[in-house]
Symmetry: C2
Subunit: 378 residues, 2 copies
């Protein structure tokens, strides 16, 4: 194998596939990046066997030559060193050449690295996914939907299925749901689906977090192909594979209360900042709990108490309070996570009593919903 | 005590004195910030008993009122909470009031914090330093001199005196020297001294690092007062006290070779980048060692070898090589530290053999010097 490549394009592709590479793997060759050069260009692959990322660098783009392949072939190079080396090479172009015995020479200007490579034939094959029913969605909408739900997945392995986000596709709509059984985040949006296919799968939260880091903020479409145990995201020159979680995701629809006893409308920012302040002292306590009480005149009181350190009390002027008087306690962290995920300057909170889950939504927008279970303190 | 203060000024002062506060102290009250309000303004103090920082916020500045003291007095508040709270308060002004039993109310808009305070009488007194022979130096020169030497102090407590920087003041000149016995950094500059006083003290590296974080980059003068066991840095509205290290600093002057067998002149940046690349592989080895060899035609070869991973070899074109041929090995980290500390685009390296310390200086500048001991590999 021998090719000459634009360094900045190589650096970018290496950074992308590195997102899948971990040093904590039981399969030694997965600490490497697979490099394959052929007539079309150069393909890099990184994988931790849960996530696999493939980045393609085409031979040329318009009239600009990006790669010049002198001899096709392949090699696997230690990801940790290869990524550091390409970043620090002195010139705009890099030459990579494999000699006998997998010895690989990386040359740029007067700098010459010799790395011991591994046999690309021994690198695990990527999942074979048939080009079938693809779901189409714009990249920035996909990223927003991931961001608005993935934070609510469980970080505990007691119920592994809850570490993923439930994706339900039906009737031209994608519905993303995450819950750790103390709070729930839901976001839906219309998508383009071929053949009216429907799916109900669970994608690991970790995979979606990595996907969001790697995708650019563009309106370009991403194609999503779902199979029995894999999901593939196809962006320009980029393939992102993730395994799916096995098992049945709980039916969350019945968790969401439809009635309401107390309704608040507030400014998202003001409310968030006041919860943030109250949590400064609450954080020291066991569970980071703040209290919310409705007062007369549309005033909402936020308070928290940490006997050793002190207490904080704050009044927030709401736009409206309707229904029963309420005193309720909840996790400041869950509330801040939920408020940060919501788009919109005003929110609507529906309570059905101090002991029942409550629902937060942007005003006049039903595509997103955050649900939080209160904490018993009164 | 009761006063109303501009929040941004309070935040800045709290951030400054926080640099001295640590949660790992054996004196519980030192986890707090002391606040004293009097007719002149408000004074904040933080200390870990090695370093103490006092920041003064004057009543007014020109025609702008900054503090309005309603009742003089004092309190000590938990630094961790107080600093977080003032940062997140909603309004531009803050009211701080001490009630009975040291209960302190912090009020801003509709937010009200109640903190349990501590008695300011129990806060340790700052060192008493007589206004005597002050050394005057511009802030940015002081910061540069610290930056160019402090990185070379020892991080090991086997010889505690080497964890400090040796400051020698004599004949209108300040000379700063740091060494960890493997490398040495030296920087001197003229300073303004009253009464032709002379000093030879050792300031903890940690204190100088904190000092550099707290001082603004200005040409305003800093006054330095040195006593038997303390040093005081006085900037505008800021006092920074540090204890001195006890013991005799080794005589480093005889370590610096005056002769030279091989002389190199090179571009600082090119040399630094090539050492950086060579160290990518060297870092994996035991000691991060790179080799330098002089070749014909003014070429310097930098190389390193890590049998498991691979090797790197690079040629750097020097401006000149004079004297004997040379092969020498040294720590890439020490060399990069030294090169980053030097100002100037070209450096001069004087070798006196593969086993002897060598000296790096900017071309045509004798105010700064970096010395490195080689590593035996040949």
């Amino acid at each position: 194998m021998k090719f000459v490549i634009q360094r900045d394009r190589l650096v970018q592709s290496v950074q992308d596939v590195m997102k899948a590479v971990t040093s904590r793997t039981t399969i030694p060759i997965l600490t490497g990046i697979k490099i394959i050069a052929n007539d079309e260009g150069v393909t890099l692959t990184g994988s931790d066997s849960d996530i696999s990322i493939e980045s393609f660098i085409p031979k040329d783009e318009g009239e600009h030559e990006i790669v010049s392949v002198i001899q096709p072939g392949g090699i696997v190079l230690q990801a940790k060193f290869f990524s550091e080396i390409v970043k620090k090479l002195p010139m705009d172009t890099v030459e990579i050449e494999v000699h006998n015995h997998l010895q690989t020479v990386i040359r740029s200007g007067k700098a010459e690295f010799n790395l011991n490579g591994l046999d690309p034939e021994e690198y695990p094959h990527l999942p074979q996914i048939e080009e079938g029913n693809a779901i189409k969605i714009s990249t920035d909408l996909l990223k927003t939907m991931v961001r608005q739900t993935v934070f609510a997945v469980s970080t505990s392995e007691t119920r592994p299925i809850l570490t993923g986000v439930n994706w339900q596709v039906a009737n031209g709509e994608l519905n993303c749901i995450a819950t750790d059984s103390h709070r729930l985040a839901m976001r839906k949006a219309p998508v383009e689906i071929q053949n009216e296919a429907s799916y109900n799968v669970v994608i690991p939260g970790k995979s979606l977090n990595e996907l969001n880091k790697i995708l650019d903020d563009t309106t370009e479409p991403v194609e999503i192909v779902i199979t029995e145990n894999q999901v593939l995201f196809k962006a320009k020159h980029l393939l992102f594979f993730s395994r799916l979680l096995e098992g049945n995701y709980p039916d969350t629809s019945r968790l969401i209360p439809s009635d309401s006893k107390t309704e608040l409308v507030m400014s998202t920012k003001e409310f968030l900042q006041s919860i943030d302040r109250a949590s400064l002292l609450a954080r020291e306590g066991r569970n980071n709990v703040v209290k919310l009480s409705t007062l007369d005149g549309g005033i909402v009181e936020i308070s928290s108490n940490s006997p050793e350190i002190g207490k904080v009390i704050e009044e927030v002027q709401s736009q409206s309070i309707d229904g029963e008087e309420l005193k309720i306690s909840f996790s400041a962290k869950y509330m801040m996570d939920a408020l940060k995920a919501l788009e919109g300057t005003e929110i609507h909170i529906n309570f059905t009593g101090a002991m029942r889950p409550f629902v937060i939504k942007p005003l006049h927008d039903d595509s997103i919903l955050q649900l939080i279970l209160p904490v018993r303190t009164y």
